[in-house]
């Protein structure tokens, strides 16, 4: 029943995306592990981790597309959920270090010893267990989104005001996590990880496994999002995006729908963050920065909002361009390019790359009724 539910909402583009990610998820780790280092088909571990990072961003972009492209909630603070998931994973990894840290304390992480803390704060209890940590990865962002959303959507805060207060939310978390007294590593963050579920975090096999896991989660996230969007619930959500008051007057509880989508999206973002941290090796409070969250929005905008595949595509393309730009002679011009992308995409390509390509494609064929999930260019 679930497979029917998931597959029935798939279109050719989605299937192609799934096939691509599945192929990448299998081939890249194999190539990294089995191929000899000099071979042209070999993917180096560094490249693999880099692409793992891109795929985490792709999952984050899908989660944002779910709320923005399909529900019209422009959240400028999704980076907060990403970072919270990352911190949950980071706390688990810190507990795994045990006595191998610089100060050799079996219970307290290094930064706590450095700050002269005597015992572990209560909110760190339980993070030595992997299942608990994974539960927190889902629960913490989800809970924050639920509470925030419950207040916001019930009071019908919409549009620009909502965007501003999501920005305020992530900014407040940034300030809070930067404080050394909070017990989350302060401005240095959590780093120097050793083990994940017993495997060495730096080992090649572990990294390959993490990459494969990221692909699996990306596929899962895509399927969930597609499932939601293609279902009857999804239809209502799209209606809320296009004409909120009308949907409300038709009798639907708009705030419930929004809350559901917002919470699911936050959990997804949390998972993305959790996979991001072991591959990058550090989590620090600057992940909460409003600028990061706004960049996430541009990934979705570039790729094509309202098309989940487009969001993932945009995330990978923009981050790849960022890596290319910021290493080498073009480094000072990256911000110019990024700013120009913002302006260009909003002015000339409101549907993003995928949407515009789709539009051209549609124009060349005979006029047909629009397929499922195609967004109308409304607010």
């Amino acid at each position: 029943m679930i497979t029917r539910f998931l597959i029935s909402n798939m279109d050719r583009r989605g299937l192609a995306f799934l096939a691509l990610i599945a192929a990448i998820g299998v081939l890249v780790p194999l190539s990294n592990l089995l191929m000899p280092a000099g071979s042209p088909v070999h993917v180096s571990t560094a490249t693999m981790s880099l692409w793992g990072k891109y795929l985490c961003y792709a999952l984050l972009a899908i989660s944002l597309d779910l709320v923005w492209g399909y529900c019209g909630i422009l959240s400028l603070g999704h980076g907060a959920f990403f970072a919270l998931g990352g911190y949950a994973m980071g706390m688990y990894l810190m507990r795994q270090i045990g006595s191998r840290g610089v100060y050799g304390n079996p219970i307290l992480p290094d930064f706590m010893v450095f700050l002269n803390w005597q015992e572990l704060p209560w909110y760190w209890y339980g993070f030595s267990s992997f299942p608990f940590a994974m539960l927190m990865v889902l629960l913490v962002p989800g809970l924050l989104a639920f509470v925030f959303g419950w207040f916001a959507f019930r009071s019908r805060v919409t549009g620009v005001y909502l965007s501003i207060i999501t920005q305020a939310l992530t900014y407040a978390l940034l300030l809070a996590f930067f404080r050394n007294d909070m017990g989350f590593g302060g401005n240095n963050g959590l780093t120097d990880f050793k083990d994940i579920v017993g495997f060495n975090v730096q080992a090649q096999t572990t990294r390959a496994a993490l990459f494969a896991m990221t692909c699996v989660m990306l596929i899962a996230g895509f399927l969930i999002a597609r499932g939601i969007v293609g279902s009857k619930l999804g239809k209502v959500v799209i209606a809320i995006r296009d004409a909120e008051s009308r949907t409300r007057f038709l009798g639907y509880r708009v705030d419930h729908f929004k809350l559901f989508v917002f919470t699911v999206s936050a959990c997804m973002a949390g998972v993305a963050g959790a996979l991001y941290v072991p591959q990058v090796g550090i989590i620090n409070p600057s992940e909460f920065a409003p600028a990061n969250s706004i960049e996430t929005v541009i990934w979705v905008a570039v790729g094509g909002r309202g098309t989940l595949v487009g969001a993932a595509l945009g995330a990978v393309v923009v981050n790849w361009a960022k890596t290319m730009f910021t290493s080498g002679w073009m480094a000072p011009y990256w911000l110019f390019a990024l700013g120009a992308v913002f302006v260009f995409v909003t002015l000339f390509m409101p549907k993003g790359v995928l949407g515009t390509v789709q539009g051209w494609w549609e124009k060349r064929r005979k006029p047909q009724p629009e397929p499922n999930g195609e967004p109308a260019p409304a607010e």
Binding site: S155, V160, A168, L169, A301, F336, L338, F342, T346
Partner: protein, 533 residues
């Protein structure tokens, strides 16, 4: 015993002031000069005493020079090297043409220094200048040296200047507090004098009361301490309030342009912080030009910078509106993103042109320094910024209420379609509003350049606060922005002593997030169906 020696020394000062044979004086002074040449610490200390006793006219100059290491002696001669570097003969006070040969500085050790301190203090109490007398009394107040008491009392009896007399009485009170064998009535009177003084030093002095005081005295001390602490707490609260007002005025300047733009056009301009930054950099450029070409005009640099910043920021704003925002009409969220992109471009452009480091913007002379108002320390630059913010606010109020353009702006804010139907060119109003909002941001930049670092990141530090002010205050009314800015500024600063700056800020952010739930459109929201569209 050093205190007895000091007492004797000071009594000698009195004695000599009251008149002593000039010859005897001159002879004693000669002895002092000979001892300076002896190059031994005990001789130098003795020399100082003799110099004081002899009431040599140059005694004060010589002893100050000795303290600074500017007293030179050798071969019988004693020479003072002035701070300007010229040389003066110590005995006669005559200027010397060149440095005499064979001189070396008279050396000091801690004992000599102590003797110098005592001598200078004693000299100060009888100084002809009342301000110097008050200063010497202040030094005695802090030192609480029992041996100076007779001198003090004599000085008080002779004192004519009111301020000096108060200072002398306070010094006397400070000594009486620690003098256990003084008459009890005098000590209680001393507690009262200290309570009158009422500042932190008086508090410290009161607390220095020895433990064996009588119960009446202890009670008087306790009452006085509570009194002073209460007054100090009030002044501290007042100081925090002042800081809050100052911060509020800065927030007002930064946010009011944003509020106007948001009200008329419904778009949040994420590049608003960069307009502020452009205003600050304009100030920097104006000052650079003035420094290079017209150095005499430096005090007017701000007066020139204000219109320049307004024009520069306003022009950039109009360019943004005509170039980008006009095409995004009706899509506020996209406008938000586009303006964010523009802000990145502007930041990087400024960074490339001026470098990423802070640039120095100087303050004109009328904005430097501070003054005391009761227990408050008020800096001139912040005071002028508050005045400036008030003037800008009133000017904007006048524009909105009294000019035709203001009328059209208000009409478009309330109901865009109807205004357009009435013949108002909404496109033109949009451009002008954006220009006005950006121009005011430029003015904010001029003000901020005086109290903050001028760097490409200047805008980023104020943008979130500006958003909060606008979201909290609502866009219906300029007064809403004023109240919102002042409330947030004062609340922030009042929270700071209790929670720290960061937690205070977080608390305010959380408060605003919750407040929005109650009033989704801010304190002063526009009402009516057209607003919901």
């Amino acid at each position: 015993m050093p205190s007895v020696i000091r007492l004797l020394r000071l009594l000698a000062v009195i004695a000599t002031v009251l008149g002593a044979p000039a010859v005897a004086r001159a002879q004693n002074a000669e002895d002092a000069f000979a001892r300076f040449n002896a190059d031994s610490f005990s001789d130098t200390a003795r020399a100082i005493d003799i110099l004081i006793q002899s009431a040599h006219p140059n005694a004060a100059v010589i002893i100050e020079a000795l303290a600074d290491g500017r007293l030179l002696a050798g071969g019988g001669a004693v020479v003072v090297k002035t701070k300007a570097g010229s040389f003066v003969d110590a005995r006669s006070g005559q200027a010397l043409a060149a440095e005499p040969a064979g001189l070396s500085a008279v050396r000091l050790n801690n004992n000599v220094r102590r003797v110098i301190q005592g001598a200078l203090g004693g000299l100060g109490l009888l100084n002809p200048d009342p301000a110097r007398r008050a200063a010497a009394a202040e030094a005695v107040f802090r030192a609480r040296d029992l041996s100076v008491l007779p001198v003090l009392e004599a000085a008080i009896a002779k004192e004519t200047d009111a301020r000096a007399r108060t200072a002398l009485r306070q010094a006397q009170a400070a000594i009486l507090i620690v003098k256990t064998d003084a008459p009890p009535f005098d000590r209680i009177a001393a507690v009262d004098v200290l309570r009158e003084r009422g500042d932190q030093d008086a508090l410290a002095t009161l607390r220095a009361l020895p433990g064996d005081a009588s119960p009446a005295l202890k009670e008087a001390q306790a009452r006085a301490i509570t009194d002073i602490e209460g007054k100090l707490a009030l002044w501290r609260a007042g100081q925090n309030l002042w800081y809050g007002l100052s911060l509020g005025s800065v927030l007002l300047l930064a946010a009011i342009g944003l509020a106007i733009t948001f009200g008329v056009m419904g778009v949040i301009n994420m590049a608003h912080g960069e307009m502020v930054m452009l205003g600050a950099y304009t100030t920097f450029l104006v000052q650079e030009v003035i420094r290079a070409r017209f150095p005499g005009l430096f005090d007017y640099s701000l007066a020139i910078a204000i219109p320049s910043a307004f024009l520069v920021a306003g022009a950039v704003g109009i360019a943004i509106e005509r170039g980008v925002i006009r095409f995004l009409y009706g899509r506020p969220l996209e406008t938000l993103l586009a303006t964010w992109g523009i802000s990145l471009i502007l930041q990087q452009a400024v960074r490339t042109a001026f470098g990423p480091t802070n640039r120095e913007v100087g303050a004109p002379s009328f904005m430097s320094g501070a003054f005391e108002l009761g227990g408050l320390a008020i800096t001139w630059n912040r005071l002028w910024i508050i005045v400036f913010a008030a003037l800008v606010f009133l000017a904007l109020l006048a524009i909105l209420k009294l000019t035709p353009m203001g009328l059209q702006m208000r009409a478009v804010t309330q109901n865009r379609r109807m205004a357009s139907a009435m013949g108002i060119r909404t496109g033109r109003i949009d451009a002008l509003t954006f220009g006005l909002g950006s121009g005011v941001a430029g003015l904010a930049g001029v003000a901020l350049s005086q109290i903050d670092n001028v760097s490409p990141n200047l805008g980023q530090s104020y943008i979130i606060d500006s958003f909060m002010v606008v979201v909290f205050g609502g866009v219906g009314n300029l007064w809403g922005t004023l109240i919102s800015a002042m409330t947030l500024g004062v609340a922030n600063k009042l929270l700071e002593p209790y929670a720290g700056a960061v937690l205070g800020k977080i608390a305010l952010l959380v408060f605003i997030i919750l407040f929005i739930q109650k009033r989704p459109r801010g304190l002063f929201a526009l009402k009516g169906r057209a607003v919901e569209a």
